[in-house]
């Protein structure tokens, strides 16, 4: 129905992910974009639609210029950061179906490792209600916001620290199988996790995503053109977005623990004509371990309150019933607003994931999250 199976991802690219890169964000975005276009077998200017979440006016046009673009292009704007990356196929499908573009490039990069020096809370500090009523009381930065949700989940449902740790351990094990994962060489056992000090109790450092530099990109075009470009295009089966209506401040959400995945996932699954049981692996936005558990519940992989037991016993590890974040995710590979999750899902569905390959992967789900916003993307083998 609608936009299902109308477009495909034909190219993916990434930079090396590093704690601090020697190049600036513009260079990282350009490299990832060129890699994605080359992977699609396309000239670096063969796109006519551009989605660069988080880029300002000048950054958008600098990227187009740096790629050598001299022609016209459609610039799609949509949601923010992680949601924008995962919603990009929806924007691309609308643009392609509407005749605004035939090939759309989405690029996302961050240089927080270099630029923020650990002060990742800056955007929150600039929100005036948080500046007045939250930060003066220590309710800051993001790690505190999400640790508060984790604590509430533990209080309501009996979720344990070992269950949070199971998410961290799974991601670390997957990262060890990746040649471009920042924590590939730093194994983590559950006992190590539990013995490590708290940052913002109940969270330890392994509960938190990386702060790093890097970029990723992917190229989307019509399914018809995709089949001309390559034998194994990855088809956009479904994509959905959602927002929490009272969601601008997490502290005040009426349903404090619900992400907008409760809206985006049913939309994406309905478009794709699938159920959670049909999904072979998921790549969930993992800024903190607990958000993985919250999304598994919100998306219907398990009931509310059952996410803790769900992630135990290796179920979410490679070889388990539902592998989660096979690249190592943002907890162990790199934090790039889910663009690494999109790239990994494409590689898994092409059968190109090497030691991380999910057996017989035919349907993969990727999510992006930005506070009140959420996007769910269902990808399938061509």
């Amino acid at each position: 129905m609608g936009l299902a199976r109308r477009i495909a991802i034909v190219g993916v690219g990434e930079t090396r992910y590093e704690r601090r890169a020697a190049r600036d964000l513009a260079a990282l975005r350009c490299e990832a974009s060129r890699a994605a276009l080359a992977d699609a077998g396309l000239d670096a200017t063969a796109f006519d639609g551009l989605i660069v979440p988080g880029a300002g006016y000048a950054e958008l046009h600098e990227l187009a210029r740096d790629l050598g673009m001299r022609g016209q292009f459609h610039a799609a704007s949509c949601f923010h950061s992680g949601t924008a990356v995962v919603a990009a196929p929806l924007e691309a499908a609308l643009a392609i179906e509407g005749g605004l573009a035939h090939t759309v490039l989405c690029c996302q990069g961050v240089a927080w490792g270099s630029e923020r020096r650990g002060n990742v809370g800056q955007p929150h500090a600039e929100m005036r209600m948080k500046a007045a009523f939250e930060i003066p009381f220590g309710w800051y930065p993001q790690v505190v916001h999400f640790a508060g949700m984790a604590r509430r989940h533990m209080e309501l449902y009996g979720t344990t620290e070992a269950q949070l740790g199971a998410v961290a351990v799974a991601c670390r094990r997957h990262a060890a199988l990746h040649d471009n994962a920042i924590l590939a060489g730093e194994p983590l056992a559950l006992d190590d996790y539990l013995a490590s000090p708290y940052l913002a109790e109940p969270f330890r450092s392994a509960d938190c995503c990386l702060v790093n530099d890097g970029a990723g990109a992917f190229v989307m075009t019509s399914l018809e053109r995709a089949r001309e470009l390559r034998a194994d295009p990855v088809v956009v089966l479904g994509v959905g977005c959602g927002v929490v209506p009272d969601g601008e401040y997490s502290s005040l959400r009426e349903d404090y623990l619900a992400t907008a995945a409760v809206h985006s996932a049913p939309r994406a699954f309905a478009m794709a004509g699938i159920e959670p049981a049909d999904v072979d692996f998921v790549a969930l936005y993992d800024n903190f371990t607990a958000l993985v558990i919250q999304q598994l519940e919100d998306m219907g992989f398990c009931a509310r309150g059952e996410g803790g037991p769900f992630v135990e016993g290796g179920r979410i590890e490679l070889g388990g019933a539902l592998p989660v974040n096979p690249s190592g995710g943002q907890l162990a590979q790199a934090f790039v607003f889910s663009v690494n999750h999109v790239v990994e899902a494409v590689r898994q569905l092409r059968g190109d994931a090497g030691a991380r390959q999910v057996a017989d992967a035919e349907v993969g789900v990727v999510t992006g999250y930005t506070g009140a916003q959420h996007a769910t993307l269902v990808l399938g083998c061509g």
Binding site: A125, E126, A131, I135, F137, G138, Y140, A147, R151, A200
Partner: protein, 141 residues
């Protein structure tokens, strides 16, 4: 606007910001006041120009009893904010008047047996300067 540079020192609110001035004025007077829609009585938190229930645009800063329940909390062990001695307990509490009013706050007098969601708490006022008093909450009972 608070940016990274300002966070080099303890982050304190501007008690003169017109949107929040009645809140800080009340705290200095030992009261916890929250805006309430004059038309429908809904507590409007955070302050907003329009009542989310009825669209009313006149909101009166109204005294509360200062009693609440613990909603969730975080014990902060790392000094994310300069000027705060760790560990400290930061929390969200829900006011007895309306559980939709959640306040971020420091939690004081944490009992040795630990914390549980739903525990009763009550407001206390902690002067920071001549111009600014912050509300905190302490565990009771």
């Amino acid at each position: 606007m608070t940016g990274v540079a300002e966070l080099a020192e303890r982050h304190l609110p501007d008690p003169g910001w017109p949107v929040a001035k009645p809140f800080w004025d009340a705290c200095r007077a030992g009261e916890l006041r929250i805006p309430r829609c004059e038309r429908c009585g809904r507590w409007v938190w955070y302050p907003a120009p329009v009542c989310p229930d009825c669209g009313g645009e006149r909101h009166r800063w109204t005294a509360t009893g200062g009693r609440a329940q613990l909603f969730t909390w975080v014990t902060v062990h790392r000094g994310f904010l300069p000027g705060y001695r760790v560990p400290y307990v930061t929390a969200l509490v829900v006011l007895d008047e309306d559980p939709r009013v959640r306040l971020a706050t420091f939690l004081r007098d944490v009992p040795p047996r630990g914390l549980r969601a739903g525990m009763p708490v009550e407001v206390i006022f902690e002067p920071v300067s001549e111009h600014l008093t912050l509300p905190a909450f302490r565990c009771v009972g």
